[in-house]
C-alpha cells in the first residue's frame, strides 16, 4: 500500500534531514523511493555538486535497504512533483519539512504547502525523527470527522505498514446548541470512535478514543503535544468552502503547527470516485 514513495528533494533541506526521513519511511513498509529534484533555473547545466548530493542520497537509501532512483526534472516544482508521482505510480509523496519564518511564508509562499494543497496522493510531512526508532512507530494520532475521509484513511490505519504500539483516535467536534442534544451527540461520537477503534484494534497494542470540542486545527495540535505522538494522520476534503480557501484548510495548516510529522490522506472526491466506480 505504501511501498513506493516519491521523495521531494530540494537540496535546501538541513544536512541529514532527508536521510533521516528515508529511515523513517521504512516504518510504513516502504521498499522503493524515487528521489525527485525539480530544477527551476533557466540554465541548462546542472551543477555537479548537486548531482553528487543526489547520488549520495541514493546511496544512503540503498544502504537502508531501499530501492532508490534519482530523477531530475525541470519546471514548476509542485506541478512537476505531482506529475512525477502519477507517472512513477508512487503510493505517496514524502517531504522533509523545512520551517519558514511567518513573513517569508506570507511573502513567498511555500512549495511544500502547494504540494499538500494540490496533491491527490497521500503526502507525508516529515518534521522530526521518530525518536531514534528504526522499526515501528510508538504512537499515532488519527483525527477523524466520521465523514468520507474515513473510507480512505482506515485502510492505511489497518495496513501493517502503519503499525504502531498505540493509536489515538481523535474526534474534534462542535458543541451542540443545547445540553440535551450535546449529550446525545457525545454518546454518538463515542460510539463511532469505538466502532473505528474496534476496526483497527488488531493492528495496535492499544487504541484510545478521544472526544474533544474546539477548533479542529488547534485541538489536533494540542492533543498531539499532550499525548506526545510521533505522527498525526488526517484526511483532507478536496472541496473547501470559501473561508477555508482563504485561510487554508486544517490539512494545509497542520504542517506549520504540528509538533510532529503529519500524514495527509486526500479524501473523497465525488467526481473521480464516481468515475472509478463506473469504470
Amino acid at each position: 500500500m505504501l511501498k513506493a514513495a516519491l521523495v521531494k528533494v530540494s537540496l535546501k533541506e538541513p544536512a541529514g534531514r532527508v536521510a533521516e526521513m528515508l529511515a523513517a519511511l521504512r516504518s510504513f513498509g516502504t521498499q522503493e523511493v524515487y528521489l525527485v529534484h525539480v530544477r527551476t533555473s533557466a540554465s541548462r547545466a546542472f551543477p555537479k555538486k548537486k548531482r553528487v548530493l543526489l547520488e549520495r542520497l541514493r546511496e544512503k537509501a540503498e544502504a537502508l535497504g531501499l530501492i532508490a532512483e534519482v530523477h531530475i526534472l525541470h519546471g514548476h516544482v509542485p506541478t512537476r512533483i505531482l506529475q512525477a508521482a502519477w507517472q512513477l505510480d508512487a503510493d505517496y509523496i514524502a517531504i522533509a519539512w523545512v520551517h519558514k519564518a511567518v513573513l517569508r511564508q506570507a511573502l513567498l509562499g511555500s512549495i511544500d504547502v502547494d504540494i499538500v494543497r494540490m496533491s491527490d496522493s497521500p503526502v507525508f510531512i516529515f518534521k522530526r525523527r521518530f525518536l531514534g526508532r528504526t522499526e515501528n512507530l510508538d504512537s499515532v494520532l488519527y483525527a477523524t470527522d466520521f465523514q468520507a475521509t474515513d473510507r480512505k484513511v482506515m485502510p492505511y490505519l489497518k495496513n501493517k505498514g502503519f503499525q504502531a504500539r498505540m493509536l489515538y483516535m481523535l474526534h474534534v467536534g462542535d458543541r451542540a446548541p443545547d445540553p440535551a442534544t450535546d449529550k446525545a451527540r457525545r454518546k454518538e461520537v463515542l460510539a463511532n470512535l469505538d466502532r473505528l477503534a474496534n476496526d483497527c484494534a488488531h493492528a495496535y497494542e492499544s487504541v484510545k478514543a478521544l472526544e474533544v470540542m474546539g477548533s479542529v486545527g488547534r485541538t489536533i495540535v494540542r492533543t498531539a503535544k499532550s499525548t506526545g505522538v510521533e505522527l498525526i494522520i488526517v484526511g483532507k476534503v478536496d472541496h473547501p468552502d470559501l473561508f477555508k480557501k482563504l485561510t487554508g484548510s486544517v490539512a494545509d495548516q497542520l504542517p506549520h503547527r504540528a509538533p510532529c510529522s503529519v500524514f495527509i490522506i486526500p479524501g473523497f472526491r465525488p467526481d473521480s470516485d464516481a468515475g472509478k466506480e463506473r469504470a
Binding site: 465523514q147 458543541r175 446548541p177 443545547d178 450535546d182 479542529v216 476534503v237 472541496h239 468552502d241 477555508k244
Partner: protein, 505 residues
Amino acid sequence: MKGLLQRNFVFIVSLAIVLALAAVGAASPENLDAWTAWLHGAIIEHFGWCYLVAAFFFLLFSLSFAFSRYGQIKLGHDHEKPRFSLFGWFSMLFAAGMGIGLIFWGVAEPMSHYLHPPPYLTGESGEAAKFAMRFAFFHWGVQPWAIYIIMSLSIAYFSFRRGMPPLISSCFYPLLGERINGATGLFIDTLAVFATVFGIVTSLGLGAIQINAGLGSVFHFSTGFGTTLAIVAVVTVLFMISSMTGLDKGIQILSKANVMLAVLLLAFMLAVGPTTMMFNIFTSTLADYLSSLFSMSLSTNPFRGYEWTQSWTLFYWAWWISWSPFVGLFVASISRGRTIREFVLGAMLAPTLLTFLWFSVFGGAAFHLELQQGATIAEAVAQDVSTGLFKVYAHYPLSSALTMVTVLLLVVFFVTSADSATFVLAMMTSRGVETPSALKKLTWGVTVSTTAAVLLFSGGLEALQRMAIAAALPFTAIMLFMCRSLLKGVRYEFRHERGDTSRKD
C-alpha cells in the same frame, strides 16, 4: 437555604446593586452625576466608533441570516404556529421597542437637528432641515431594530427551538457549554437585569415628565414634583394590574389599542395638516436615507461634528444596545412559532415603516409651522424637549383633544413598556421561568417606580440613564459573541440534524 440562594442569585445581586445605586443617587446626586458623566463621556469618546461598527454589523448579520438557508428555521418546533396574530405581534413589537420614545422625539428630534445641526451645516437652513429628517430616520430606522433582532433571535432560537430557559446566558451554550450556569452566565444575566432596570427607571421618569407637561398645557396648571409623583403612582398601579393579568391579555390588548390610537392620531394629522408636504418629506427623506445609509452607518465625523455625533448617534446606539436585553427578551417571548426570515423582516420593516411615517407627519407638521407660518417650534423644543408635540398641537384644531389623546397614548405606551419590563425582569431573575411569580413582578414593579420617584426628586435621573448606557459597552461585546454562538448553533442544526453534508475541513 443554599439552593434558594443559588436559584435567586441574579435576583438578589441585581436588586442589591439597583437599590445601592438608587440610594447613592438619592443621597448624593451630585457625586453620582459627576461619576457617571465621566464614565459615560469616556466610553462614548473612546469606544463610540465600536457602537457604529457593531450596529452596522448587526444589520448586515440579521439581513444575511434572514436571506440565507437559515431563514427557514422556525423559532419553535417545526410544526408550531405563531402564538400571536400578525397585528398583535406587530403592536407589541412597536410598543416595547419604540412607542414612547417616538412620541417624545417625533417633533423634538427633527426640530433639534434643524436648530443645532453639526458645525458643517448652517442652523435653520434648508440643508439643516433635510439633514434633520434624514438623521431622525437614521436614529429610529433599521439599525435599532437590527440590534433588538440579534438579541431576540438568539434568545428565541435557544429557548423555543433548543428547549433552554429564556435567558441571555442560554444563548452562549455553543460557546461556553455548562459554564453558562457558572459565574460567566450569572454575570451576563445580572448585567442584563441591571441595564433593564436603569433603562426602565429612566424611561418612567422622563415619560412622567412629558405626561406632566402635556396635562399642564391642557389644564393650565404649574407642573411640579407633586404632580409628577402622582403620575408615577397612577402609572405604577396601572402597569402592575396589567402585569398581573399576564402576557396574553394585558400587554397584547394595551399594545393593540395603542397602535390603533397612534394610527388614528397619525391619520388625523395627515388629513388636517399639510398632507402633500408630509408625503414629500416622507418620499425624499426615504430616498436620502436609503442612498446615504452606508455613509451614515459608519461616519463618526472625526474632523468636524464629532461632538454632534457623540451626543446624538452614539448616544442613541448605546441606548438601543442597553435596551436590547429587555426588548430582546420580550420580543423573543412574543415571536414563538415564526420563521427566522419572517421574524427578521417583520421586526425590521414593519415598525420602521410606521416610524418613518410618524416622523414625516409630525416632523413635517412642525417644519410646515416653522418654515411657512413663522411659528417658533424649534425654539420651544430647545427650551423644553418634552413640550414640542404639544406646541405643534396648539396650531391645530381640537388641540386639547389631541393633547389628551397623546397623553393617553403616552400613559398606555408607558404602562405597556413598564408591564413588559416587569415581566422580563421577573423572568430573568427566576432562571428563565416563563410564568414568573407575582411576588417577583411586584418587587420589580415597586422597585422601578420607587427608584424613579426618588431620583426625580433628587435629580439623579440622568445619572441613572448614563449608568444604563454604560452597560451598553459590555453588551456590545456580548452581542458580538452572541452572533458567533447563534451561527454555531444553526450551523450545527443544519449539519447534524438536517443531514447537510456540505461541511468542508
